[in-house]
């Protein structure tokens, strides 16, 4: 299976402010009752975007000025809570190709890498500045360079950070972990032979 290398992403951005935005807010549990991920894009931030009568609330994902945005900007500990891959699936299927934030919850970050969604990390000041810029310039492009871990907007280049193995996986096109691991069949067998609990503790 050929996996594409992801080195650059360019597009307009959409800010979702707030720390500790959890996976139930990204996608409420009742929308997990489907056996495929196909429709998950419809449910992104559902209860933040719609009231109980399905009337639109004020939320960046409802704001027409951000239509077509492909980069999401967030604050601290984004994606905390559940392991549900439905969360990054819903964001990705809504049209987001990359997320820039102050920090990400562990399982959420792992899921993003599996889906080929780069996560870039900046400090509080960098993120707040970027959020302000996108609020004032919603149609302006932001260029992400995964190789250098930089973003470029308004004629300036900002140095950000990335998890090294995620960065490597995206840049080298090796984020399809199943293919990588299938290559190590013999090494798996060695571990199996040496694990006491798989060998009646002998």
């Amino acid at each position: 299976m050929t996996i594409k290398k992801i080195t650059q992403i360019s597009g307009s951005a959409i800010p979702v402010k707030g720390n500790d935005i959890d996976t139930d807010r990204i996608i409420p549990a009742r929308y997990l009752k489907e056996i495929t991920f196909e429709k998950m894009g419809n449910y992104a931030f559902h209860d933040e975007r719609f009231d109980v009568d399905e009337n639109k609330k004020i939320h960046p994902f409802n704001d027409e000025k951000y239509n077509g945005a492909s980069i999401l900007i967030v604050n601290k500990n984004f994606g905390c809570g559940s392991s549900r891959e439905h969360a990054p699936q819903s964001i990705m299927r809504f049209g987001i190709n990359a997320i820039i934030g102050e920090s990400f919850a562990e399982i959420f970050a792992g899921n993003c890498t599996m889906l080929g969604i780069p996560l870039l990390i900046g400090n509080e000041e960098q993120i707040n500045e970027l959020m302000e810029f996108t609020i004032n310039n919603p149609k302006e492009n932001i260029e992400i360079n995964i190789i250098n871990k930089t973003i470029k907007y308004e004629n300036k280049t900002i140095q950000l950070d990335m998890n090294p193995s995620s960065q490597n996986a995206l840049v080298e096109g090796t984020w399809d972990s199943v293919s990588l691991m299938l290559n190590n069949e013999e090494k798996i067998e060695i571990v199996e032979k040496n694990l006491p609990y798989l060998n009646e503790f002998k």
Binding site: M1, K17, G18, D20, D22, D24, R25, A29, R30, L32, K33, E34, I35, T36, F37, D51, V52, N75, K76, N77, C80, G81, S82, S83, R84, E85, S103, A105, E106, I107, G110, N111, M114, E124, N163, S165, S166, N168, A169, E172, T174, W175, S177, V178, L180, M181, L182, N184, K187, I188, I190, V191, N194, L195, P196, Y197, L198, E200, F201, K202
Partner: protein, 481 residues
């Protein structure tokens, strides 16, 4: 709380030993991947109906098969109704999920503990009770509360669906090694302080993102003195503190719990197993990335007041002022107060509740129902409170009935349900309605978590939920003990 940042702060003694996490990791490391991650072998893979169907579909699309069906076990818990479990389920989407799990487990020769087995239940309750969960294993499941199994001295963590696919296909995961933080809690717990209070206290102290990048080792006499079920409650909520896994070193309590369970090593093997289990425990001179010391005798019954499990307070404290938080947290705190409709500076004692829920992978074990039963025995649930008790597994249900616990709950006005995740995440008919407030033994108080987009959750121990149900409002459990 005392924080020791690294081994350099620990004095001149060189810490050269290994901790459990390092030992188990090394035994399961298959190879280093080109990404720099470790290919880690997974000894036990647990699956359920919500996060597995898409993974099986991915396997089919790529022509891959399940590598080790004998190390994979399935149950149904999230979507199963807890009143009428007759198939087909009334909810067509839930029925489709159940059918998919039936089909996928049959086609791939995976053992499925369905309701006809007498062993069905919440995945993190049945793993330990069947003896599947053992020390020195790597365990994963497409569910963040897989950290529960760390109570046995295993490395256990939740994964996403693409990773479920990886484990099904290769019995391995691509993982980055975690740092290890030792959290020592010593001292005598006050009367009325339960494991739930200990973990809520730890999360409130270290924050919901304090554990990112870490595995938590829970140590000290407070955990040494806990039963296995109590240790499971603590490890279960590691993820709420941001730590993907948490563990307690195995000891005699662990071995005694496992002995004679269905999947436990038998006879001579058991002795050999104990030798292995002892060998993977942290060395006395083990190295840690940092150490946190907490005085257990200072912990009081703890409840949440906000919309993250870290927004908690000791029951006797007043709700914190917004100014007491860091500037960057103030927005979240304001949102929490607005959502919960609580007022800074006031006490949480006396907050009226509409629903009492006892159950979930955090507190749905037999000992949880025993503790709550002590509080409610002979009393009546307050008018206007809807109270439900949901055993975590069919075996817990059976034990409770043999002890007559179900009667105590029913006589006091609780509904006694069948096993499932129930109102913890409301992917089934058990849900809050509108702005209802629930006193809950579950693990998350996120906005909308219990099924109503505007519903509110206050997390606490089973005894505290029992007391809240009887009084119709939150009380300090110490007053009725």
């Amino acid at each position: 709380m005392e924080i020791i940042k690294s081994q350099h702060d620990l004095s001149d003694i060189k810490m050269t030993g290994k901790n459990l996490f390092e030992k188990v990791w090394e035994k399961h490391a298959v190879a280093e991947l080109p990404t720099g991650q470790t290919q880690l072998f997974i000894g036990l893979h647990l699956i359920h109906e919500v996060t597995s169907p898409q993974a099986f579909q991915m396997l089919r699309e790529r022509g891959l098969s399940v590598k080790h069906p004998e190390n994979t076990f399935a149950t149904i818990d999230h979507i199963i109704p807890t009143e009428d479990q007759q198939r087909p389920y009334k909810d067509k989407l839930a029925e489709l999920m159940a059918e998919s799990l039936d089909k996928n487990t049959k086609e791939n020769n995976i053992k499925f503990f369905n309701t006809d087995s007498g062993k069905q239940g919440v995945v993190h309750i049945i793993g330990p009770e069947l003896g599947l969960t053992q020390p020195g294993m790597t365990i994963c499941c497409g569910d963040s509360h897989t950290s529960t199994h760390g109570a046995f001295g295993s490395i256990s963590f939740g994964i996403g669906t693409s990773q479920v696919r990886d484990v099904l296909a290769t019995q391995c995961l691509a993982m980055t090694k975690l740092k290890v933080r030792r959290i020592e809690v010593n001292g005598e717990l006050q009367n009325g302080v339960y494991p739930k209070d200990v973990i809520l206290h730890i999360i409130k102290t270290l924050g919901v993102n304090g554990g990112i990048g870490y595995a938590y080792e829970f140590a000290g006499n407070v955990f040494d003195n806990m039963t296995m079920e109590e240790r499971m409650t603590v490890c279960n909520m590691s993820i709420e503190g941001g730590a993907r896994c948490g563990y307690v070193n195995p000891d005699q309590t662990t071995y005694d719990y496992i002995k004679n369970r269905e999947y436990a090593p038998k006879e001579n093997d058991f002795e050999e197993a104990v030798k292995y289990w002892k060998s993977i425990a942290s060395d006395t001179d083990a190295h840690y990335d940092d150490i946190i010391k907490i005085n257990g005798s200072e912990i009081v019954p703890t409840v949440t007041w906000g919309i993250t499990p870290g927004q908690g307070i000791g029951i006797s404290e007043n709700l914190p002022s917004i100014d007491s938080f860091k500037e960057s947290d103030k927005k979240t705190v304001e949102k929490a107060y607005e959502y919960m409709d609580l007022v800074p500076g006031e006490s949480i004692i006396g907050t009226k509740i509409d629903v009492a829920f006892i159950g979930s992978c955090t507190n749905g074990r037999i000992s949880d129902f025993r503790e709550a039963a002590k509080i409610i025995n002979g009393k009546k649930v307050a008018e206007n409170v809807r109270a439900i008790a949901v055993p975590g597994s069919q075996q817990v249900d059976k034990m409770a009935k043999e002890e007559g616990l179900d009667k105590i709950f029913i006589d006091s006005g609780f509904e006694w349900r069948k096993a499932g995740c129930s109102m913890c995440l409301a992917m089934n008919p058990d849900k809050l309605k509108g702005r209802e407030i629930s006193a809950s033994t579950s693990n998350r108080n996120f906005i909308g978590r219990q099924g109503s987009p505007t519903g509110r959750t206050i997390l606490m121990s089973p005894a505290m939920v029992g007391a809240a149900a009887i009084n119709g409002k939150i009380i300090d459990i110490r007053e009725v003990l």
